[in-house]
Amino acid sequence: MFEAAQQAYVNTYKGIAPDLPGGSVPWVRRVRDSGLSRFREIGFPTPGDEDWKYTNVRPIAKQSFAPALNGHNGIDFTQIEILKDNRLGSCRCVFVNGHFAPRLSNLDQLPRGVAVMSLSDALNHRADELENELGRCVPNKLHGFAALNTAFLADGAYIRVGPDCDLECPIELVYVSTGDGDQPQVSYPRNLAILDSGSRAVIMERYLSLGQGRYLTNAVTEIVARTSAQVDYYKLQEESTDAFHVGGLFVNQHRDSTVTTNNIAIGGAIARTDLHVTLNDVGARSNLNGLYIGMGRQHIDNHTQVDHRAASCTSSEFYKGVLSGRSRAVFHGRVVVHQDAQKTDAQQQNNNLLLSRDAEIDTKPQLEIYADDVKCSHGATIGQLDPNSIFYLQSRGIDETTARGLLTYAFANDVINRFAIESIRNELEHHLTRTLLHGKHVEAQA
């Protein structure tokens, strides 16, 4: 399947690989080559692959996407609301079509011991430092999209938080896609964050679109949390409903580290996120929060996997989904407790609200357990708003549409409430208010 399209990527690679950042560094070339050969071997996933059973990538695979060029002239960045003011007070890296845009970024407030730079700079100037880190968190046998990202990795963010650094201001990575150009474009954001022992940081990734054009974002983020490091990570994907988004987030956790991932998927025609967390040493703790809201003809797929490879680790997963219109969502949550990972505590919860006749949800929580002294559970529900609750609100004089909006908002807000950073919580609550309380969502149901 898709041989021609796959060959096109291989040809493009041959054309541009030598000119990519770090192209003269042997190990960087090796990493890219291995990505490409892996892609040649496995190609794009098909519905025959168990992990892609419910997500058909044909619309992405059949299209030929050209690598997005580093040119963002003539774009009025005042259009981008998020860039107008910095409510989070963050250190900000802005990328346009996957390329670092220094003029839009703001990296002045960084304290000592913290490095935030574009990956292209890091590959050109600090390649030695990255050699044993880049690509280490990405599972070998993952799908063709991740392999393609590795083959074409060029830009993104490199974040290094030194030992015992407590970074107060959030690090914000903003990926803006213009969706213009004669041909649909693809960008390959690649982020690497290393948190040395005892450090602490908040990292937020945003993906947004300027126009309505069709394009593909194929992103990979790796996070390494060393001993006792604490990371609060947010991903807000709100690209246009014409865009395709395939993202991978890979987290390696060491002793006593805590990583909380908060994953919000609102945008995209087809949006897929793979989240793999590996708990490598005792006492590691992982929280996975997620919210997906599908409307229209959106297809949102969240795949999560937590590997308990060491004893006494904890994971707690909480994903919620709201679906209306003809949207479809897929949730796949896999928890693997490996042999001898005793005293594991793994909890998982997935709740879905199905609001319209033509929406669909496919959920697949999975537990794979090879140790005996464990506490593991998962729960999944699919349902609709409680008629009694609607009636209650109506009996208080609230009209049905508003009542539904309120209840939907409350359902989704459960996830947002878990976010530790107040400013981020506030921003997302505004977002929810717009989409769920006053937005199209409610009208579609009524």
Binding site: L354, K364, H378
Partner: protein, 481 residues
């Protein structure tokens, strides 16, 4: 006080008590499978022409299929040409009463604890016993016939009620449904057929006992149960096999059809030979079971206790076609030593107001791997569909595995689907509580395990519940430490 070491010793020494071989004269086809084997089986049973066509079609389709690989089980590839597809005790023709059955056969069934004679009188259970490939004797046929219930071997049914069989056979599990079902359709040699007429409540529990005896044979039986409008039937199935070092294949198909207002309760206690403590031998139990709730208010309930087989691959399913129909699945699956199980159910909600309940209890011990795999599918038109699933796993030992793979596909906004799963071991607190009440460790574990399975056992008919409980105790003996 039993120390763990002693317990494990005892477990190793425990023998599969149904593991004897009956030395009986049997007619067995040489190993291998081609069209002539299919023709032979059909001819041997003097089947009507349509059956041969049906079998051949299934066989040809089977050739195009590949073995499914998605299950969470691992085994050496099966050589389908090394299996004999027909084996029957000789001299079966013209049996009128149990007295004429080969006494050795009867002895076998007695050893297994299903005295055909005795059961006639005491339990009032009608038994259809399938030995290797053919049905040996169906007891109580006459008595059932009085109320119009047909209970006979499927070979007899093909002669006596060809229209009924033709109408329903393959209507739930089509001949080409999956790899094993297609193989079964091509070579099935016997099985049971049940028809309950309109508004009849079957006066007794019906039961089948399956036994694999001969070496290198596969057993492919086919069960078809049709419950006409307003009827009720409870059906039990039990299975055993001798101990052998080779793996033997058992690929059965069970089809249930419930018309408007009908109820079918299907209970299985599966105790095929599980292999020895090193994982040698044992039955590969690759079974397709499916029921269709065709009419309004119909109900199909599967209850299974799976303690045997080296590998179990089985998903008793219900197609909820009629409005207000109900599907139930209650399961206890136990894997000890090197046993592997990938079992669960499929509930497909097609009609309105359909309800399904899934209660699955998995127990893993030794190196056993136990997986629940289930699908709940709510189609677009299935308004107000309701499902509740609960899958609990109990781990005894640190080298076993318990896995849960539920799939939920919902296309209707009025559906309520809930799934819950937990995995844990017996807590020290629970054990301590029992111990300080004077129970031995073994008894305490047994009691806790029984409590864990209670929800399922209470769905079994009385005699079966007792048997299941005992079976679990034996299978688990010493697995605790």
């Amino acid at each position: 006080m039993g120390t763990p070491a002693n317990d494990i010793d005892r477990l190793v020494k425990r023998e599969y008590k149904e593991g004897f071989v009956t030395d009986i004269d049997s007619e067995t086809l040489p190993p291998g499978l081609d069209e002539s084997v299919v023709r032979f089986i059909s001819e041997k049973k003097s089947e009507p022409e349509f059956m041969l066509e049906w079998r051949l079609k299934a066989y040809r389709h089977w050739l195009t299929l590949t073995e499914p690989q998605w299950a969470h089980v691992h085994y050496e590839p099966i050589d389908y040409q090394a299996i004999s597809y027909f084996s029957a005790p000789k001299d079966k023709d013209g049996l009128n009463s149990l007295d004429e059955v080969d006494p050795k056969l009867l002895e076998t069934y007695e050893k297994l604890g299903i005295p055909l004679e005795e059961q006639k009188v005491l339990a009032g259970v009608a038994v259809d016993a399938v030995f290797d490939s053919v049905s040996v004797k169906t007891t109580f046929r006459e008595k059932l016939a009085e109320v119009g219930v047909i209970f006979c071997s499927i070979s007899d049914a093909l002669h006596e009620y060809p229209d009924l069989v033709k109408r329903y056979l393959g209507s739930v599990v089509p001949a080409g449904d999956n790899f094993y079902a297609a193989l079964n359709s091509a070579v099935f040699s016997d099985g049971s057929f049940v028809y309950i007429p309109k508004d009849v409540r079957c006066p007794m529990e019906l039961s089948t006992y399956f036994r694999i005896n001969a070496m290198n044979t596969g057993q492919f039986e086919r069960t078809l149960i049709v419950a006409d409008e307003g009827s009720y039937v409870s059906y039990l199935e039990g299975c055993t096999a001798p101990m052998r070092d080779e793996n033997q294949l058992h690929a059965a198909v069970v089809e249930l059809i419930a018309m408007e207002g009908a109820q079918i309760k299907y209970s299985t206690v599966q105790n095929w030979y599980p292999g020895d403590e090193h994982g040698r031998g044992g039955i590969y139990n690759f079974v397709t079971k499916r029921g269709a709730c065709r009419g309004r208010n119909s109900k199909i309930s599967w209850t299974q206790v799976e303690t045997g087989s080296a590998i179990t691959w089985k998903y008793p399913s219900v197609l909820l076609e009629g409005d207000d129909s109900v599907g139930e699945f209650y399961s206890v699956a136990l894997t000890n030593n090197w046993q592997q199980a990938d079992t669960g159910t499929k509930m497909v909600h097609i009609g309105r107001n359909t309800t399904s309940t899934i209660i699955s209890k998995g127990i893993s011990a030794g190196h056993g791997q136990n997986a629940y795999r289930g699908l709940v599918k709510v189609l677009n038109k299935a308004d107000k569909a309701r499902n509740y699933s609960q899958c609990d796993s109990l781990l005894l030992g640190d080298r076993c595995g318990a896995h849960t793979f539920p799939y939920m596909e919902v296309k209707n906004p009025t559906a309520q689907v809930e799934h819950e799963a937990t995995t844990s071991k017996i807590s020290d607190d629970q054990l301590f509580y029992c111990r300080q009440r004077g129970l031995s460790e073994e008894d305490a574990v047994s009691m806790i395990v029984n409590g864990f399975c209670k929800e399922v056992f209470k769905e079994l008919p009385m005699e079966f519940a007792v048997e299941a409980q005992k079976l679990l105790e034996i299978s688990l003996e010493g697995a605790v430490g």
